[in-house]
Structures are given as C-alpha cells and as structure tokens.
C-alpha cells in the first residue's frame, strides 16, 4: 500500500501550513525611511485588465517622483509602492487593506478600481486613520458619509448627467439638436449608479427619457434592446456598459442601421476594445474623466512619459486618475514633511495643485474639500477615424464634434 508515502506528503503539507505565520516576512522598515503607499488593484478576476492597466500608471508616477529626487522635504526619501492583488472581490480588497495598513505599515492607500471593491477598503482605512485615495470609483456615498481619511480624485456618479446635459445644450447651439433620450445600462453597481443619475437629471434639463433598458453583462444578443431603443423614437442613446458589452451593443445598433447620438460612459467606453469593434463605434461619444489628447501641458507630458515606459500604449482615463492619485499622496507627504498618516491627511486637506506634473486632469485645480472630494470634471470625446478625440469643453478640446452620420 502507498498509505505511508501519502502520510508523509500530507504531513509535509500540514507542516508548511502550521509554520505559515512564522514565514510571512514582516518586511521591516528600510534603513532610509521610504514613503510607503499601498496600491490596491484587481489583477485577477473580472476586473483584471483594468487593474493591470491602473498599476502601470501608479508605477509610472512612482518612477517619475523617484527620478526627480524623491520626496524632497524628507531628504529625498524614495516613494515605495506596496502593490497587492484584490482579485476583483470586495472581501479580498478589505483584507488586503487591513494587511497593508497593519503589516506593511503603509502611510497611505490608493485604489481600488470599482465601487464595490473600494467601499470596504475605504472603510477599513478610515477606521485605521490611514489616508485612502480613491482612484476611479464613482459611488456618491464614498465622499458623503463623513469619512475623514477618504479622498477622491475621481468625479461622483451624480455629476455625469449634468456634464452630458451641458454637452447636449452646447450641441444645440451648433445646430445639432437631440430632443429625446433612451437609456441602456448594465445591471451592476456602476450601470445602476449612472442610470439613476441620468433618470433624475436629464428630464429636468429638457431631455425626456423615452425608454430605460437594463441588461446583464455578458448578454449574448442585443437585438431586442436595440429594437426597443430604435422604436422608442429617441434620437440620443446614453449607455453605461463594460467594454465587451459595448461592442456587442454597438454592432447590434449598426445591424439595425440605427445611428443615434450615442454617449458611452467612462473608461469602459473610451477604450481600445470598443474601437476594435470597427465601424459601429465610429462617431460615438464618450463622457470621461480624462483623455490622452487633452490640451494641457502636464497631461501631454504624462502621455509622453507613459508611451516611453510602455511603447505602443496610450493611457486611458482611469490611468490618469491613478497617476494623479499617486502624485497627490506624494505631494501631500512632501508638504507634511512626514510619512505620518495623520500629517499626510492634514496636508491633503490643504493641498492645491494647479500646475506641475500632477496637473493632468481637466479641472483647473486639484484640491480636496472637507468631505475629501476634489472638484473634478469631465470631457466629452468622440471616436473619429479609429481614435478618441476630445471635442468638449471648448477650453481643452482638440476639435469640434463631428456630425454623427459619418
């Protein structure tokens, strides 16, 4: 019988597990104290592609900060990122936040992609009095529930409807009138936050909503939804969908020869995958927090640095946010002259970034109000000839919007 060998093997496994706590290194503090920032990104699971992208931007920021002499007020201390994979799961995000705070002793945290993975991690950070810089989550409540240590470079979900209405008003002055709106949103947290915002804002701004469709991510066929959008009589379609669903939806629109004014949402629309769908994505708009062609010096410098670090790649909106989030934490530590969590928090509340390498986002000033929210804004981009181009607001636009019927 092989029983004995099995026992041996199994004993070894047991032994390894029992010894586990002893061999987790408590990576002690470096001799010259670095500024440690924990980065929570999903590198596996459903949001893996987004998380891996975000990480590149965090790392680029760290590289640039260190190359330009580190944190000056701390004697040129290096910025050290402690990166962790949150597996696209809320409970993992939470546990990892706890670990980075208590074991890695990070001075601040940045992350954690989606709202569902950000909320629990932000709560942990707030409870442990550690600054948490939200990179991309748009859930309104995050900066409305009085958490003292939570800051956000991203916009709130409830601001998007306003941007779109402003844009449609602008289009009207150019003689391109859109009167009636149809919605198609995915049935998850992001889609529903955006949907409730659109339904509450748009009618009040003179854009009635004729039909309001939802779908689950992974829907294999959008024919019925597109038929409903088409037969509703709407001439504007606002969506919120993950990139893969967007491609299927856009192809279904094209298959029915329905070419409304289409505004997709955020980095999930302004994305290589959507462009890869080819003609169906041409001339569609996207409302997004940042765009690589943005007419702003720091932004152009960021794109250039990114292309040097990752040849052939153009950063997306959420990567700019991740870049700025990392920079903002480093600048706060510099202003605080400390790696202490409370000192960094204090410095963040009085931070005001108007120029320099961190002034990448479209809003003129990056600062944080008493709720930790920055006065961020959005741009409207349009897919023209296989590229997303900033077309609104005029101050940062590269060119005026092209007519929808291409």
């Amino acid at each position: 019988m092989t029983k004995f060998t099995i026992d041996r093997r199994q004993t070894l496994l047991m032994g390894a597990a029992v010894a586990m706590p002893a061999i987790i290194p408590s990576r002690g503090r470096a001799a010259t104290e670095a500024l440690k920032i924990g980065v929570l990104v999903p590198m596996t699971g459903v949001h893996a592609s987004d998380g891996i992208r975000m990480l590149k931007a965090h790392q680029l920021a760290a590289k640039m900060i260190n190359a330009s002499g580190g944190i000056k007020s701390l004697g040129g201390a290096k910025l050290e990122l402690v990166v962790t994979d949150i597996q696209s799961k809320p409970e993992v995000s939470r546990a990892e936040a706890e670990r980075l705070i208590s074991r890695e002793r990070v001075s601040a945290l940045a992350g954690a992609w989606a709202s569902a993975t950000t909320i629990p991690a932000a709560q942990i950070a707030d409870r442990n009095r550690t600054p948490f810089m939200i990179t991309s989550a748009v859930n309104d409540a995050l900066t409305e529930q009085g958490m003292k240590y939570v800051f956000r470079t991203a916009v709130k979900a409830k601001w998007f409807g306003g941007y779109i209405a402003d844009f449609l008003d602008y289009q009207k002055t150019k003689g391109i009138a859109v009167g009636k709106i149809a919605l198609a949103t995915e049935d998850g947290p992001a889609g529903q936050a955006v949907r409730s915002n659109y339904t509450s804002v748009m009618p009040g701004r003179g854009y009635p909503i004729l039909t309001d469709e939802t779908f689950r991510t992974g829907t294999p066929d959008f024919s019925t939804i597109v038929t409903k959008l088409r037969t509703s009589g709407a001439d504007g379609v606002l969506t919120c969908a993950y990139a893969e669903d967007s491609t299927v939806l856009l192809r279904a629109l094209a298959a029915q020869n329905f070419r409304p004014l289409y505004v997709g949402f955020g980095g999930a629309h302004v994305n290589q995958t959507v462009l890869a769908a080819g003609k169906p994505s041409d001339r569609t708009f996207g409302v997004v927090e940042w765009s690589p062609d943005l007419n702003k010096p720091a932004s152009l410098a960021f794109v250039k640095a990114f292309a040097e670090a990752h040849p052939g790649e153009t950063p997306l909106s959420n990567q700019a946010q991740a870049f700025v989030a990392t920079y903002a934490l480093a600048l706060a530590a510099d202003a605080a002259k400390s790696t202490d969590r409370n000192a960094i928090r204090e410095a963040l509340t009085s931070l005001k970034i108007t120029d320099g390498p961190a002034a990448v986002l479209p809003a003129p000033v990056l600062s944080f109000d008493e709720q930790g929210q920055s006065p961020s804004t959005c741009v409207i981009v349009q897919a023209i000839d296989g590229k997303f181009v900033t077309v609104w607001p005029e101050a940062v636009a590269v060119r005026p919007p092209a007519p929808v019927q291409g």
């Binding site: 047991m14 597990a17 891996i52 670990r99 709560q123 049935d187 998850g188 947290p189 529903q192």
Partner: protein, 336 residues
C-alpha cells in the same frame, strides 16, 4: 464523556490558540475571522454533505439570508443582532424546509439535488441584485453607530474573533452531541443507503429535512456574523455561487467524513491562498490561482478521504493501547 467530545474540544482549543496568536496583528485576526467563520459554515454544510449525503451547492442562499437580514434589519428598522439573528435563523429554517420539501418530495438525488439548490441560490442572488431596498448589486453598508454593543460595532477586530470562536465551539459541540443521538445515526444510515434505511423504518424524508434545516440555521448565523463583522454586504460575496463552491472545496480537502474536516480545509486553504497572493500575486497575476486550482485537483483525486481523513487514520494508528478509545472517538465518523 471528555473523550467523546475530543473531535469538538481539540479544534476549539486550537481555535482559541489561533485567536490568541492573532491578537498580535490585525491582519492575522482578519485571516482568523475568515477561517473561523467560513470554516464553521463549512462544518454546518458538511452535516448535510458528509453525514447525510446531501451535497448542497446553494448554501450561499442561507448565508445571504443571514447577512441581509442583519443588514436590512439595521438599515431599515434600526434593529440589532439580538433581534436580527433569531429572525435570520427562522427565515433560513423556513426556506430550507420549503426547498427541502420540494426537492425530497420529488426524489431529487445526487447531482440533481446539488443543481436544484444551486438554482435556488442563483434566483436569490439575481433577485437581490435587482431589489432597490436591498441595495441592488451595490450592496449595503451598515451605518456606524455609537451604540457599540447593541449593534456589535467595535473599533478593533478581536471582539469579532471572539464571537467567532464562540460560534465555532457551539457548532462543533452541539453537532458532536447530536451525531451521537439516534437521529445522528439515522443521517449516516440515509447517506450510506437510503433505500435500506427506509426499509428498516427510518423516515428518511423527516431526517433529511432535519439535516437541511439545522445546516441552514447555522449557515444563516454565519452570514449574520459576517454582516456584523464587515459592516458591508453585497450579493456577490454573500449570495454568490463562489461561496457555496468554497464550502465544497474546504469539505473535500479537509475530509467529508469528519466533523472537523471542513474546518481543517478552511484553516489550510485560506492562509495558503493569502500566502500565494502575497508571494506570487503582485508579480504574476493569476499564477497564484493556478497553483490553488492544481492543489485542489490533486488532493481531490489522490486523497478522497481528505487531509483530515489521513490525519485521523494516522492518529488512530499511532494511539497507544490506553488511548485507543480516544482515537476511536476521534475517528468515529471516518467510517466509509
């Protein structure tokens, strides 16, 4: 007496030791909490799977009932655990009896029972994801309150760890006691041969429902503790099929024939997952889960009785004459 309770006593003592060790570091406490909580729920799941032969793939339903009862009770009515936990237990019991009655009446067995329970939990998952007052797929945050004890809100992790030690101990001791009673033996008779058991006059339906109900109640309490500990519930982590599958995996790796088998599975795999993530996660995303999956396949194929089964057999063989009885007690359920 003491010997009979060794399978409950030893894991409880180890859990207390683990708790004390985890006091040193909130991160260890977080891991301890997950091991204790999911491990205990897996023990409850195994009362059905390992002892009655009913493999549920829908246990997240009961966990979710517990978690959402606590969350909605507090958000909607300001109720604390004193009220919400019993309600959660009752709701879980009622749904288990309902599902059980339907399934057993029509004689669903084996894979069919598993997939039917999975279908029920998926329906619940999707409906909660669509229900506005349950927070849809966003989930619900439990508001923080200064009334620490009434809402079980502590600034530190360790009180939750302590609650979970109690939950674990209670579940183990009560289950061990119950398995030694007549219904406990009926369960195993049903598992081994339902037809034969019925022929001998065991009302199989009644005892299968009993197993389902008890298991669901413990699972719901686990879900309730989860909601209070993490102050956040969302459909994916509390009602998703991933949780049900986790229970199955812990059971198989730890050993289905043993009361404490699934707990062992959780105690090995959760920290192993953490270790793999810490060491492999950041550099090679995905490689950690590849390793985890390989481990799972190899163990399921090579050690059908689980690591716990091997351990129990070894203890029994090692046990000198005077301790033979104790060893026997440890291995009393390792029969098949």
């Amino acid at each position: 007496m003491l010997r009979r309770f060794l399978p409950a006593l030893v894991p409880t003592l180890l859990a207390i030791a683990g708790f004390c060790f985890s006091l040193s570091d909130p991160y260890f406490m977080e891991i301890f909490i997950m091991v204790g909580l999911i491990g205990t729920v897996a023990v409850a799941w195994n009362l059905m799977a390992g002892f009655t032969g009913l493999v549920s793939l829908g246990h997240s339903l009961f966990f979710g009932i517990g978690a959402y009862t606590v969350a909605y009770g507090q958000v909607g009515f300001g109720l604390g655990p004193l009220v919400t936990w019993p309600i959660a237990a009752l709701l879980a019991l009622a749904s288990a009896l309902f599902i059980g009655l339907l399934c057993f009446r029509y004689g669903l067995r084996g894979y069919f029972f598993s997939i039917a329970t999975l279908a029920f939990s998926e329906v619940a998952f999707l409906l909660v994801s669509a229900t506005l007052w349950l927070g849809r797929s966003d989930g619900m945050m439990l508001p923080s309150s200064p009334e620490t004890l009434r809402y079980l809100q502590f600034d530190h992790k360790w009180p939750y760890g302590l609650i979970i030690v109690g939950f674990l101990a209670l579940t183990l001791f009560l289950s061990q006691a119950f398995l030694a009673t007549r219904p406990g033996f009926y369960w195993r008779a049903i598992r081994d041969n339902e037809g034969a058991a019925e022929a001998l006059g065991v009302p199989a339906m009644r005892y299968k429902l009993l197993a389902f109900g008890l298991s669901a109640v413990v699972t719901a309490i686990g879900g309730a503790i989860f909601a209070n500990t993490f102050a956040f519930v969302d459909p994916r982590s509390t009602l998703g099929v991933e949780l049900s599958i986790q229970l199955l995996v812990f059971g198989i790796i730890g050993g289905l024939g043993l009361l404490w088998g699934p707990l062992l599975g959780a105690a090995l795999l959760i920290p192993a997952g953490e270790l793999l993530r810490t060491y492999l996660g950041a550099g090679f995303h995905g490689v950690n889960i590849v390793a985890y999956a390989l481990l799972m396949i190899v163990l399921a194929l090579l050690l059908p009785q689980g690591l716990g089964g091997v351990l129990a057999a070894r203890l029994r063989r090692r046990a000198p004459k005077k301790q033979a009885a104790a060893g026997k007690a440890l291995a009393v359920e390792a029969a098949p």
